[in-house]
Amino acid sequence: MFKAIVSASTLRDALDAVSVLVDECKIRLNEDGLAIRAVDPANVGMVDLALDVAAFESYEADGGVIGVNLARLEDIAGMANSGDLVHLELDEETRKLHIRIDGLSYTLALIDPDSIRQEPDIPDLDLPAEIVVEGNQLDRGITAADMVSDHIRLRVDEASETFHIEAEGDTDDVDLEVGREDLIDLQAGPADSLFSLDYLKDMNKAIPGDAEVTVELGEEFPVKLHYEFAEGMGNVTFMLAPRIQSD
């Protein structure tokens, strides 16, 4: 049983965060809210999203799992104006999701959740450095890095307590240094890892500019990016494996 009403913008923000990594995903309809966890086909990036009951106008669910085609669902959500409310209701018998937006109703065929890629177990990582930064700063660094290279280095300088976003191209280099005064918070530690810009660019697209992004970083370890959306009622964690540094 699943029946919910949610604002279109909240739904869109949630879907955007997931669709940067996968085309289809499993949505867990827990009693205390929606949860999505998905790993991209190359096993490199993961998204973990939770949308609390409080983010919904109304919400009833009893713990089922549905599989959806994200592109379709995004298209439908795109039909709504941002103030509109989206009504979602699961028809258990036909396994279809009925979606109503201001007189428009859409019946979405669901995907068998078993046919969707199983997410691997992700070990708990204890990452030494934690940086809290505005989405805009991150966006600036990523955009600049993209001009010169296809990978990006995230680094914390423990001595000067600065966060660096660097990229080395064939001919040109970029380095964005963010000092403590421009960071919301910094917990310095040994942290220096290289990542694919392909992924970070996509993830960055989903991160709102005014969001506070918590970056957890280690040395040649995956990075974790947390941020909240839907006025704090939803939160997203991206996790990205480092690039292999070939000598």
Binding site: P222, M239, A241
Partner: protein, 496 residues
């Protein structure tokens, strides 16, 4: 119903049967990967365990896998997005533990990446292999179907066909685990019938034994697998050996459409039959063709059966007796051979005549060819070559004279001179107008040409003299042409 080939897919390399050497080589490759960092091509016939070996290897080494299948579209973009990303990044789960986030990229059917459907896929794979930071296994049936660049960038391991004696123990083991009673002979028969192909042996076993959990020799004989028939044995069957009914059955087993089969039979019938027989055979082929025409017109593919009836049973019935011996069957000409020179000639003619290429080919080219046959008269040929800017091969194509002959070469040289003169003469007043175009008017009637050139010339007084010269030159050429060409000249102007 679960597929036994999946259920009993080996989960570790040591369970791979029948290819011990290749198996060890694969393990060796994986264990030394850190040193050489090269991809490996695993190739061999279908069903010998290549894909199983790759997955088993990954599980032995504790690596994760990313697989790119032939069922996915494999354009450069897709390969870059999935395999490319996987090959350059550590894995999430592995990044934190001792495997260092290694994962095996498996590209199945790597020899089957097709130019068009998988646009750019082939070069993307080569790039992937060269730049990867993760081990890659490319799986192929035919090693030499892969590009040389790709082969050179990889190590290679061949998986040989699995011998019947290696297949039998596998089947026996499955029978025991599935609680199937079996005759040893039946297992032997299955293994023999699928010589080399372990996977289809397991499939046959499942087909024969799953229902009643018993396997007897009778089951095996029933479960004879359909094998497709080559087109050459089929031709032998239809044109020489088999009765109409047998020939029809054979036709069903050939992996070609009735369209192609009709062409094959039509091409080769005269090599075997003659006289009355051949006439009857062609009558049936004509019937088959008629049905194919109906298929095309109505899109009712059900009619294909009547085409097949005619081309196989009909042609077989046309024979008086069976025939022996060996015949060198030849491949039918499926499409009219496209000729680059002809196309280029037609294109140039069509362009300057302002007609479609089809019209130029059908209605203009024959006249040109007749008028300049074997480069006679020469002046007309030169004029034609100059007008259309033909090169040696084009002139030779139109006139039927040899391309390398002095005659053709001198014609092209003269034509070139003629063009240059015309060009120079015109360049004064007609700046942007090519010689051919301005000659248009002049060709039809000198008078018109004069008027035209004069009109143009008023814009640039000082060029008048040049114009007149040009007009005169044009006119002069045409006069020559007219003298030589007689009726031909009239024809030529028609399409200019």
């Amino acid at each position: 119903m679960t597929d036994w080939t999946e259920t009993y897919r080996p989960s570790t390399l040591s369970a791979i049967r029948g290819n011990d050497k290749a198996r060890d080589a694969l393990r060796e490759w994986a264990e030394t990967w850190d040193d050489h960092r090269e991809a490996v091509v695993v190739y061999g016939s279908p069903g010998v365990g290549k894909t199983s070996a790759a997955h088993a290897l990954a599980s032995d080494e504790g690596w994760e896998t990313v697989e790119l299948n032939a069922s996915d579209q494999r354009t450069a973009d897709v390969i870059e997005r999935y395999a490319g990303r996987a090959a350059k990044n550590a894995t999430l789960a592995g990044a934190a533990n001792e495997t260092g986030g290694r994962q095996l990229v498996i590209v199945d059917e790597a020899d089957n990446i097709h130019g068009n459907y998988d646009r750019g896929g082939s070069s993307a794979i080569t790039r992937l292999v060269k730049e990867a930071d993760q081990p890659i296994v490319l799986i192929a049936n035919d090693y030499y179907d892969m590009s040389r660049g790709l082969r050179n960038a990889c190590q290679e391991i061949e998986f040989r066909d699995v011998a019947a004696r290696s297949i039998v123990p596998v089947l026996r083991d499955i029978c025991r685990r599935e609680n199937v009673e079996f005759d040893e002979e039946a297992l032997q028969a299955i293994a023999e019938a699928n010589s080399g192909d372990l996977r289809s042996a397991v499939n046959d076993l499942q087909a024969a034994a799953e229902e009643d959990r018993r396997l007897t020799t009778d089951d095996v004989l029933d479960g004879d697998r359909d094998r497709s028939l080559g087109v050459f044995p089929f031709l032998d069957a239809v044109l020489k050996e088999e009765s109409p009914e047998e020939a029809l059955q054979s036709a069903y087993r050939v992996d070609e459409t009735p369209d192609d089969l009709t062409k094959w039979v039509a091409e080769n019938a005269p090599k075997v039959c003659e006289g009355e027989e051949l006439a009857r055979a062609y009558e049936f082929l004509a019937n088959a063709d008629r049905w194919l025409g109906r298929v095309r017109a109505t899109q009712e593919y059900g009619y294909w059966r009547y085409a097949t009836d005619n081309l196989a049973a009909g042609v077989a019935a046309a024979r008086d007796d069976t025939k022996g011996g060996w015949t060198r069957f030849s491949r039918p000409q499926f499409w009219p051979s496209s000729d680059g020179t002809a196309d280029e000639v037609v294109r140039r003619v069509a362009e300057s005549a302002g007609t479609s290429m089809a019209t130029a080919r059908r209605e203009l080219l024959p006249y040109l060819a007749a008028m300049t046959h074997h480069c006679k008269p020469r002046e007309l040929t030169v004029a034609m070559a100059a007008y259309y800017d033909f090169e040696e091969d084009h002139v030779s194509f139109v006139t039927g004279s040899g391309e390398t002959t002095n005659k053709v070469q001198s014609i092209v040289e003269d034509a070139q001179t003629l063009r240059e003169e015309a060009m120079e003469d015109h360049s004064g007043a007609f700046g942007g107008i090519p010689a051919g175009e301005s000659a248009d008017g002049a060709d039809g009637a000198e008078a018109t040409a004069d008027v035209e050139t004069d009109d143009e010339a008023t814009a640039a007084d000082e060029a008048t003299a040049a114009d007149e010269l040009a007009a005169a030159a044009n006119g002069g050429d045409d006069a020559d042409d007219a003298d030589d060409g007689d009726d031909g000249q009239a024809g030529l102007t028609d399409f200019m």
